[in-house]
Amino acid sequence: MSLLSSVFAGGHASYVAAAFGCAFVWIAAELVLLRRRVRRTPGPQP
């Protein structure tokens, strides 16, 4: 872990990117799962 930290010691931009990237990916995953659920539940039935 310390090696990783020293690699990023200069800019820390990757941490910010990782945080926002994680958030976007998880939100996208939630939306994808939700879309699959919408498609999966039965529509209008007689």
């Binding site: 990023f8 994680c22 958030a23 939630e30 659920r37 039935q45």
Partner: protein
């Protein structure tokens, strides 16, 4: 918005006919279903707009912090997610209280619809907190009072979701989860207080993940915009999810014999 009550279904027993509140009519799942379908896209659009505005303010308008450099910008996702995780739990608890007192199924379904999104925000808050902690304090996890409370809140959310999926019968699941959410809500202040107490006792000059003491106004604006984005997103997703729940439990979205179209 078109008038939704142009045709009165014959099974109308809503309280909307008495006096003031037309809004109580929407407690009926059949009425709420199309309303939720119409509202959801607007909330998604509002979330997207607020997010764009918030990210622009957060990255291009807010100045570089004197102590933490650029990495402090993580607060623009960490703090809104943390605020929303707590807010959503309180809203869930409110819906659960309504479900137990008023015995409306829609209330408990709204709570169930909110739970996964609340858990998601809690997880985002935890991850972003860890990613903030590493460059700032040198460790991936900091037993900061707020992060620890977020971790316990995540456990409360996951417990709610686990209980709901473990009970087969929908009505019992809804009411059991409602009691669980209320017990958790009463417990939350105790948890926050005890974690706060535990943290200060064990660390003295504790490392804290709150932002710099004097927050520039632009930083605050950015955070508020991102919080608004998360809030609109949570509402939108909850509306879509509750429509799925209504369909799954057969309460709405089915073709009615008297009206000729689906209640969508």
């Amino acid at each position: 918005m078109s008038r939704p009550f142009a045709q009165q279904p014959t099974f109308d027993t809503s309280p909307a006919r008495h006096g003031g509140s037309r809004w109580l009519a929407y407690a009926s799942p059949v009425r709420f279903y199309p309303l939720a379908g119409r509202m959801a896209p607007w909330f998604f659009a509002a979330a997207a707009l607020a997010a764009i505005a918030g990210l622009w303010v957060g990255f291009f308008v807010a100045p570089t912090d004197a102590q933490q450099g650029e990495v402090y910008r993580i607060i623009f996702i960490h703090v809104p997610a943390a605020w929303m995780s707590m807010f959503i739990y309180l809203v869930m608890a409110m819906y659960c209280a309504m479900a137990l007192v008023l015995r409306t199924r829609l209330s408990s379904m709204m709570a169930s619809a909110l739970a996964p999104t609340g858990a998601l925000f809690t997880a985002i808050a935890l991850i972003s907190g860890a990613l903030w902690g590493e460059p700032t304090w040198g460790t991936w996890w900091v037993w900061d009072a707020r992060l620890t409370s977020e971790l316990l809140l995540l456990f409360l959310y996951l417990g709610f979701i686990a209980l709901e999926s473990a009970i087969d019968e929908p009505r019992r699941a809804e009411r059991a989860c409602a009691v669980l959410a209320l017990v958790g809500t009463v417990n939350l202040p105790v948890i926050y207080f005890s974690v706060q107490w535990w943290n200060t006792l064990h660390q003295g000059a504790s490392v804290s993940l709150t932002a710099a003491p004097s927050m520039a106004r632009t930083m605050l604006v950015g955070m508020l915009l991102m919080t608004l984005a998360c809030w609109m997103y949570a509402i939108a997703v909850a509306l879509v999810r509750v429509r799925c729940l209504l369909r799954e439990r057969g309460l709405a979205g089915v073709v009615d014999r008297q009206t000729n179209g689906e209640g969508a």
